[in-house]
């Protein structure tokens, strides 16, 4: 298996993070863990953006993944962390397989609004039902990893950090392969011109469907890891402003590389930590102006800062190279 530059960078960064985790202070480890977990949710948003869809409801799957971890203990008596994460992913994928049948018929603002509506439905159900924790949500405690009980405090922080870095690296690796596979490439073609893709004999709808379902699974994993790291889940995970935050991070990073959402999520978390400290009532305003700035001056996100000076890769010679290495994707 030959690795390209992005994949090497990915492996290198993961190792660096794990090494850094041994010396970094607890608060920084926690911050990076949450940022990476949220970046996974953002990867789900980016997957759909690459196919031309903006989901204003990715919080739905974030919440499903988180609640699987939160409710697995009290409802199912399961404490194994990996099983809880898996339940979240399976639940989200199952839900997405049903919702996707309807949602893939929509584009543009209709897709945005309908995905928003679905996440608000979950929010409404959670907030109004006492059995599902109402507005309080659930605490996540006393979970185990491979048979070892994870007590709170420093150990838990480090264990979740390890888990998140590994999960993020693996998912990013697979996503990178996926984007270069034929299905991944078709997603971009659909964004450019859907009707022409149809004329080529492909079904944009089923490709969107597969993409949507996969994105749901990735986002749910992010939600589950966030729940393990934060030790708490509440209905706000499904509220539409949470989904708005994911879109913000996705646009901040851009869709240029699978690494971009991680970079954007870490920048976002760092800036937020300090902004809330120093200007608590102007934090959203900073976000708003930044978002406008990105839309106007950096439409391809922060990532384009790293790539714009290089000449564009020639389109034609690149194609055979891509088919020879792609194969492990999707």
């Amino acid at each position: 298996m030959r690795l390209d530059k992005t994949e090497l960078a990915l492996v290198g960064l993961a190792v660096l993070l794990l090494l850094g985790g041994m010396v970094a202070p607890g608060w920084l480890i926690f911050l990076v863990t949450i940022a990476l977990a949220k970046a996974l949710v953002v990867q789900g948003v980016v997957m759909q953006m690459k196919a031309g869809l903006v989901s204003f409801g990715q919080g739905l799957f974030y919440c499903v993944g988180g609640y699987a971890v939160g409710m697995g203990g009290p409802f199912l008596g399961i404490s194994a962390g990996l099983v809880l994460l898996a339940i979240g992913v399976v639940a989200a994928v199952g839900l997405a397989m049903v919702l996707g049948l309807l949602l893939t018929r929509y584009r543009e603002i209709f897709f945005a609004m309908l995905s928003l509506a679905f996440s608000m439905i979950l929010y409404g159900v959670l907030v109004k039902s006492q059995e599902l924790g109402s507005t309080d949500g659930f605490n996540v405690n006393n979970w185990t990893l491979l048979g070892q009980t994870i007590a709170g405090g420093e150990t838990a922080t480090h264990v979740v950090f390890l888990l998140t870095v590994v999960a993020a690296a693996v998912v990013a690796f697979l996503l990178h392969r996926y984007y270069r596979s034929s299905v991944g490439m078709t997603c971009e073609a659909i964004r450019e011109n859907e009707v022409r893709v149809e004329y080529l004999g492909l079904s944009p709808r089923w490709i969107q469907y597969a993409n949507y379902v996969a994105a749901a699974g990735v986002s749910a994993l992010g939600g589950g890891l966030t729940a393990l790291a934060a030790g708490h889940v509440d209905p706000d995970m499904a509220y539409w402003t949470t989904s708005g935050e994911f879109i913000f991070i996705a646009l901040l990073g851009g869709t240029g590389s699978v690494l971009a959402p991680f970079l954007a999520a870490i920048v976002f978390s760092l800036v937020r930590t300090y902004a809330i400290e120093f200007v608590p009532h102007a934090w959203q305003m900073i976000l708003g102006f930044t978002l406008l700035g990105i839309v106007v001056f950096l439409p391809k996100g922060l990532w384009s800062l790293f790539t714009r000076h290089r000449p564009e890769a020639p389109v034609v010679p690149a194609a055979p190279q891509k088919t020879s290495t792609g194969g492990a994707g999707a």
């Binding site: 309807l102 209709f110 102007a282």
Partner: protein, 299 residues
């Protein structure tokens, strides 16, 4: 029987409120093709402006209820003109012609900015403006006590709806606007100043938003975050009715208002679920909404 009447009254009151909130959103989308996420913030600005004006007016213990209604409406119009002008001239006019979905993101950025701007201007403590609400008293309909202010809201919604309809369908300016709605480029080729029409539409849409907020202020406590809650409800209404359609917004508001009232009376845990449930159901059957037009796909 009693609960049936209660559902009908509650539902109609809620529907009028929904219509007032959603009217500006649908007007702006209809003409400008901008799904304005910041509409909820306009609502909140109207509510804050009205609440602080009412608070000031009644602060010395005197003041008549009649004047306070004029004050409510005056505040709404003033706030709408100021905010609408600032936003359109200062931001949106540079953004025309971009993708619809990008406009959603731009107005989302605007929402974030306005939310904090309100916190900086009015602080985070609640404002109250209950005087106009209590001044009107209550009446009894079929054994149920109903606030007259809420009943008056129904009247206001009907007047606003008819005025909008009459303006679009019965005046010269309305005819020009419909031309812009129908085909922006051809209208502009026929000598319509489309940008001026956009400006006008945006001001009217904004003012409708602030008016809804100002009229709601007496019956709620005005706190940060009310706009964020309202915007998703307004989306539900206009999406159900068909984006850009006034009569659609009216029907959508009635449908959602009555459904919610039914849920509140018979199954309160479904109060929020029912609104988005109805929205999803309508979209599943008629993606363009009840009154929306289907568009041909372009290659």
């Amino acid at each position: 029987m009693l609960s049936f009447i209660a559902v009908l009254i509650d539902g109609t009151i809620y529907a009028s409120w929904l219509f007032l909130v959603a009217a500006g959103l649908t007007v702006i989308y209809g003409v400008m093709r901008i799904l304005n996420m910041a509409h909820g913030s306009f609502y909140a600005i109207g509510a804050y402006a009205a609440a602080s004006a009412i608070g000031w007016y009644f602060s010395d213990g005197t003041g008549s209820a009649g004047m306070s209604f004029l004050l409510l409406i005056g505040c709404a119009i003033a706030a709408g003109l100021v905010v609408g002008t600032l936003v359109e001239r200062g931001l949106l006019r540079f953004m025309y012609g971009r993708d619809e979905i990008l406009m959603v993101i731009i107005t989302y950025a605007l929402l974030l900015i306005l939310e904090d701007a309100m916190k900086l201007i009015w602080g985070v403590n609640p404002y109250f403006a209950y005087q106009p609400y209590t001044a009107l008293g209550r009446s009894t309909i079929a054994g149920l006590k109903v606030s007259n202010y809420d009943l008056a809201l129904i009247g206001v919604a009907v007047v606003v709806g008819l005025a909008l309809w009459g303006w679009l369908e019965r005046t010269n300016l309305g005819k020009i606007l419909r031309a812009v709605i129908h085909d922006r480029e051809v209208a502009s080729a026929m000598g319509v100043n489309v940008r001026r029409m956009f400006f006008l539409t945006f001001i009217i849409g904004t003012t409708l938003g602030t008016l809804a907020g100002a009229l709601t202020a007496p019956s709620i406590s005005v706190v940060p975050g009310i706009g964020v809650e309202v915007i998703v409800l307004a989306f539900a209404v206009v999406v159900v009715g068909g984006l850009g359609s006034i009569e659609g917004a009216a029907v959508g508001a009635l449908l959602l208002g009555l459904s919610r009232a039914m849920a509140v009376h018979f199954a309160p845990q479904f109060e929020l679920f029912v609104i988005y449930g109805v929205m999803s159901l309508v979209l599943a059957i008629r993606p363009q909404g009840l009154f929306g037009r289907t568009l041909a796909r372009k290659i």
